[in-house]
Amino acid sequence: MIFRREFAAYFATPLAAVFLAVFVAVSAGMTFFVSSFFERSQADLSTFFTWQPWLFLVLMPAIGMRLWAEERRLGTIELLMTLPVSPWKFVFGKWLAAFAFAGLALVFTMPLWITVNVLGSPDNGVIFASYIGAWLMAGAFLAIASCISALTKNQVLAFIGAVIVGFLFVMAGFDLVLAAGRPWAPDVIVQAIASMSFIGHFQRITDGVFEASALVFFISLIAFALWLNVQILDARKAA
C-alpha cells in the first residue's frame, strides 16, 4: 500500500524521468570520458563502478529528501501518524519505494554491461555482485536521507544534511578523515571509523572479493538508519 503510493509518487512529476536521464548520462559520461573506458582496453565495468559512490552521494539524497520533509510540509504526516498503522510500516514502505527507484536507475545502466560483453569477455559474476553492492549502497544512502528528512519540513535542508552525512561515510576510509583522528584517538576508534567507509566496502565487492561482511555492513546500516528514523518520528510527538 505505502510502497505503491510512494513509488507512484516518483512518477507523478517529470522528476523521475529527469532523474533517470541524469543518472544514466552522468554514469556513462564518467565511465567513457573521465575514466577513459576505451583507452584502457579492458572489458570490465570497474570504471563505471568507481564513480557510483560519488554519484550516489548527490543523487540519493535527491531521491530521499522528500520522503518525510514533504509529509511535514503538506501536513499529511498528521494523517499518517493518526492511522492505525505502526510507524515502522511507513518508514520501511517509503524507504523500499526509494530503494526500488534506485534499482530501476541501475537497471537503466545495464546497456553498459551488454556493451562490455560485446567488446570482450568480462567477469560477469563480479559485475553482478557489483550491481548488488551498488544497489545496497544506494539503499544505505537512502536510509540516511530518509532519517534526516524526518527531522525537517525543508527539503533543501534535508538534502544538504543527507549529503553531509553521506560524505562522512564515503570519506571515512580516506586519510583526510583518519589523519584527523589518529593523533589523539585510540587505534580501535580509528579502525572503527575506517571500517565505516562506503568506498572501502564497495571496492572490495567490485574488486571481485565477494565478501559477506560488506553486504552485512550495508544491510545493518540500513536497518540502523531506519530504526533511528522511527525513533525520530516518535520523539517528535513528545516535542
Partner: protein
C-alpha cells in the same frame, strides 16, 4: 463498548512546548450523540488538544482516551475508532480523489470490496462525484475540505475530530458542511473546533471555551449565551455584536486580563 460510556475522555491534559504551556489541565468527556464545539481565540490550544486526542502529539502529562483506549499506551486500537480532519485538510496534491480515499481506506484495513462499497456511499453523502477522478491539487477549497471529511469517514468511526472543518468555505459550503455534521451526529461523538460563533449555535450540543490552554466554560450554547454581560442600552454600539460574541468576549478577555 457499552452505551453511555464516554467515547472521548481527557484527564488533566497538559502540553508544554518549551516554556509555553499550550494546553493547561484540560479535562472533559464526550458521549455518543454529542457534538462538541471547541471555541477559543487563535492560538488558544484547540488544535493542540485535538492533536493529542488524535495521537499525533503526546501530552506532557495527563491522559486521553478514545472509545476506552488510551491514546498513548494503546494507540492503534484508539485510532481505529477515530476519524481525524487535521487543520487545513492536508492531502496528497498529486493523487486523484479516488486514489487518495482508496489509499486511506487500504491503510485503515478495509478490504477492496469494503472500500469500493464505502467509497460509493461517501461519493453520495459528501457529494464528490464531480471531482472523483480529479487531482487534489486542482480542487477548490470547498472540495478539498470535503475530501478531508471523506478521508476521516472512510471507516465509519465512532469518534470524529474535525479541526476547523468550515474554515475558508463560502456560506453555501459552510451550510452544507454543517448539515453533514448534523446528519452524522446521532451515531457518533464529534468534536469540532471553530472560531465562528454561530456555528456553535447551529450544530453543537455543547460548547467548550478554551483560551490560553485553559478550559473556561463547558456548557450548552444556550447557557453560554446567558453568560453575556447585560448591555447598557444607553451606550451606542460602535461595532454590532451578537449576544454570543458578547459572551465569548466576556469569557475569554476576562481570563486573559485584557
Amino acid at each position: 463498548m457499552p452505551d453511555g460510556q464516554a467515547l472521548v475522555e481527557t484527564r488533566a491534559l497538559i502540553k508544554k512546548f518549551g516554556s509555553v504551556t499550550a494546553v493547561d489541565n484540560v479535562s472533559f468527556t464526550v458521549e455518543r450523540g454529542e457534538v462538541i464545539g471547541f471555541l477559543g481565540p487563535n492560538g488558544a490550544g484547540k488544535s493542540t488538544t485535538m492533536k493529542i486526542i488524535a495521537g499525533f502529539l503526546e501530552p506532557t502529562s495527563g491522559d486521553a482516551f478514545v472509545a476506552g483506549h488510551d491514546s498513548r499506551r494503546d494507540p492503534i486500537a484508539a485510532r481505529r475508532h477515530l476519524g481525524y480532519l487535521p487543520e487545513g485538510a492536508p492531502a496528497y496534491p498529486d493523487m486523484t480523489v479516488a486514489d487518495f480515499l482508496g489509499f486511506v481506506a487500504g491503510l485503515r484495513g478495509l478490504s477492496p470490496r469494503q472500500t469500493s462499497r464505502r467509497l460509493a456511499e461517501l461519493v453520495e453523502s459528501i457529494d464528490l462525484a464531480e471531482v472523483w477522478n480529479r487531482r487534489i491539487e486542482a480542487l477548490s477549497k470547498g472540495y478539498k475540505r470535503r475530501v478531508g471529511i471523506a478521508q476521516a469517514l472512510v471507516h465509519d468511526p465512532d469518534v470524529l475530530i474535525l479541526d476547523e472543518p468550515t474554515d475558508g468555505l463560502d456560506p453555501n459550503q459552510k451550510h452544507e458542511m454543517r448539515a453533514l455534521i448534523r446528519t452524522l451526529a446521532p451515531s457518533k461523538a464529534i468534536i469540532v473546533s471553530t472560531h465562528i460563533l454561530e456555528e456553535v449555535e447551529a450544530i453543537c450540543t455543547r460548547a467548550i471555551v478554551i483560551a490560553r490552554g485553559r478550559k473556561l466554560a463547558d456548557t450548552t450554547p444556550a447557557a453560554l449565551l446567558a453568560m453575556a454581560p447585560p448591555r447598557d442600552p444607553h451606550v451606542p454600539q460602535l461595532v454590532k455584536t451578537t449576544p454570543l460574541e458578547d459572551a465569548f468576549r466576556h469569557i475569554t478577555l476576562e481570563q486573559t486580563g485584557v
